[in-house]
């Protein structure tokens, strides 16, 4: 038997260590898929995304107590909207109102409008109904409805938190101006989706 070259031994050991069977570590159970689709639903829809960030941003711009009242109120009212969607109650103009929420909240931030707290909560609550309705309609078809609900509620909350963190900039004059610019940008995105939803843009 010819001698085996010494350098080939570690190489042979390394190659032998490579598993030939798939690991199948992520089996993609109903919970995992439901959670993933729920997490991605508000993030992959830009109209939802900008509106959620705007809620946090506007709360931060308005200061306490709006900074926490709006993000705590929103998921609860959104759940009511989800129930309406689940019940199959027809709600007109869902997509236009979701787009309008981005436009309206963006404008309110850009123009630094400071309504009374109740008025801000009611406005955000109305928009939350429509966002919840859109999410709720997809709930029964989810791989795991509970996981889907957890995913989109957590994603919504984290988007609010993102808005609040950006809104911390209002503590500085330049930051306050930047927040208003962010509001204007959100309003532009909302306007685009509003025009698209009513068929003006394809």
């Amino acid at each position: 038997m010819p001698p085996v070259p010494s350098k080939s031994l570690p190489l042979a050991a390394l190659l032998a260590a490579i598993p030939l069977a798939p690991a199948l570590a992520h089996t993609g159970s109903g919970v995992a898929i439901g959670l993933q689709s729920g997490l991605l639903h508000p993030i992959t829809g830009a109209d939802h995304l900008v509106a959620m960030v705007a809620v946090g941003l506007w709360g931060a711009q308005l200061g306490a107590p709006a900074i926490w009242v709006l993000p705590i109120t929103f998921p609860l009212v959104m759940a009511v909207g989800g129930l309406i969607g689940l019940a199959g109650v027809p709600l007109p103009f869902v997509e236009p109102v979701v787009a309008l929420s981005g436009l309206a909240l963006g404008l309110l931030i850009a123009l630094h409008v400071r309504p009374p707290l109740w008025a801000a909560a009611v406005l955000v609550g109305v928009f939350a109904i429509f966002h919840g309705y859109a999410h709720g309609r997809e709930l029964p078809g989810a791989a795991d409805p509970t996981a889907y609900a957890v995913g989109f509620v957590v994603a919504t909350g984290l988007l609010h938190l993102t808005g609040i963190l950006i809104g911390v900039l209002v503590a500085w004059p330049a930051g306050a101006r930047l927040v208003r610019v962010c509001g204007a940008a959100i309003g532009c995105v909302g306007l685009y989706f509003l025009l698209a939803s009513v068929g003006v843009l394809s």
Binding site: W68, P71, P75, L76, P140
Partner: protein, 207 residues
Amino acid sequence: MRTKARLLAGATVAAVLALPTAAHAHLVDTRLGDFYGGALHPLTELQQILPWIALAALAAFQGARRARWVIAAFPLALLAGGLAALAVPAPPYESLVGIGLVAATGLALAAAARVPLPVLVGLAAVMGLLHGFQNGQGLPASTDRLLFLAGATAIGYVVMTLATGAALAFLRGVGGWRPIALRASGSWVAAVGIMVLGLQFFAPTAS
């Protein structure tokens, strides 16, 4: 040179011994597998683990003295519920009550409600009994039920103790945002509970 060859041969033998094989992480062939099965069962069920954490945070809002009662009552109720499942049939509306508890606990946390001690312990007991019952239901004959329920009870105690302790420590930190963050998480739990509850009423075939 000879030493190097020995080292290479030793390394080769070690590498062969470390060849990847099945991990057998679920220990189905051992008696302890049922203990771990019981411990993991509630952790993979969002309808159980979510209200557990919400209950722990709610207990933390009531202060350490009151929270200790929950840590004692909850695992005992979990065990009692599991044992009851071996003897009696499922109560009516068990699923609805379970999801209702998710919504109620989340709402109480979102409101940072000051709950009387009997109500708090009663909530922990009802939740423990119900979830213990759900854990003990439908176990296959091959499962060691005592080990399974012991695992579920142990994880209930561990999760409740750690989550309550973490929430208490979190609330004691500096910054007024801390209770707000916990209340926001309560509103998330409540929102999930309300929607899944609605699913039971309006689209039961889809669940």
